[in-house]
Symmetry: C2
Subunit: 175 residues, 2 copies
């Protein structure tokens, strides 16, 4: 199972921190190809690159202008489209079906998601049928797809944490 992410309608001011958290979280969830629409955000991309310079390069983040075109292309390539929305079918009813798929494109929105996305998606899936967070939905779906395990980016990195009972310990891998 390979999973990619499409983050819709990023707004530079309003969403900068949340989108950063979403993209960084992908590094521990095994989602390395990320597309986003809305505002092209150089600062966001720079921040992600900065983190990856220290902690290993796993992500491929691309700003795109036409999400519907991307969805259609991905479908042609054999991807199944899984849109996360609180209006969708509870994930426990569909997770085993989704786990069997080869490649999926997960879509998460920001503000109002256009109705075309609901129509074009193969699955509209809910992680709780009440307001919560697109990041929470993404985390739970990916965690379930990985059989309740993380899937951490583990390429060569400049820094590494040595886990501690108390306090912090970071070492450089090149020293």
């Amino acid at each position: 199972m390979g999973a990619e992410l499409l983050r819709l309608s990023h707004r530079k001011e309003r969403d900068k921190r949340l989108t950063t958290h979403i993209f960084l979280s992908c590094r521990i969830l095994g989602i390395y190809n990320i597309y986003y629409t809305g505002d092209k955000d150089e600062k966001l991309e720079k921040n992600i690159n900065k983190v990856e310079k220290n902690w290993g390069k796993c992500l491929n983040v691309q700003h795109i202008k036409k999400p519907l075109k991307l969805i259609e292309e991905k479908k042609k390539e054999g991807y199944t489209i899984v849109h996360l929305t609180m209006y969708g079918i509870p994930y426990k009813q569909k997770i085993n079906e989704i786990k069997k798929l080869k490649n999926i494109l997960i879509i998460i929105g920001s503000e109002k998601v256009p109705s075309e996305i609901y129509k074009l998606s193969d699955y509209n899936i809910s992680i709780g049928n009440q307001p919560h967070s697109e990041l929470t939905a993404l985390v739970i779906l990916s965690y379930e797809l990985n059989n309740c395990k993380l899937k951490e980016c583990s390429v060569k990195s400049l820094y590494r944490i040595i886990p501690q009972e108390k306090g912090k310990k970071v070492v450089r891998n090149d020293k």
Copy 2:
């Protein structure tokens, strides 16, 4: 197992969206008592109340000024303190121990967390030893504590979603 949350150092401008997402996510994770420090944020509290007016009142959100005092009080009441930090011990090594506890206070930070928090915490736990998101860490820990299930707020609410394969359906419970 009862879990409460302490969110440290909320900054009104910078964290407003993220903290909102954290608090709302607590509604589907079974964490209903929430304390936060940093800026007292009336607008944030109002937004949460507005959501809960429509979707059911589960949360009890309190701004506090002295986190160390809260931690000490909770300890006296028999709570175990679990601080989530990327510097801590990987959760898989400790989750079974933590699951056996009666009551825990989960601490998540924002910017730099003071070293006293590391010292006062009974557990410093990491969800991935690399930068990600305090929301992601909270979601994974809570989900594990609930045996890979959600624990949704299910009190009487004004609205209710009827899950759909495509599109949205919301009904009022009083009609």
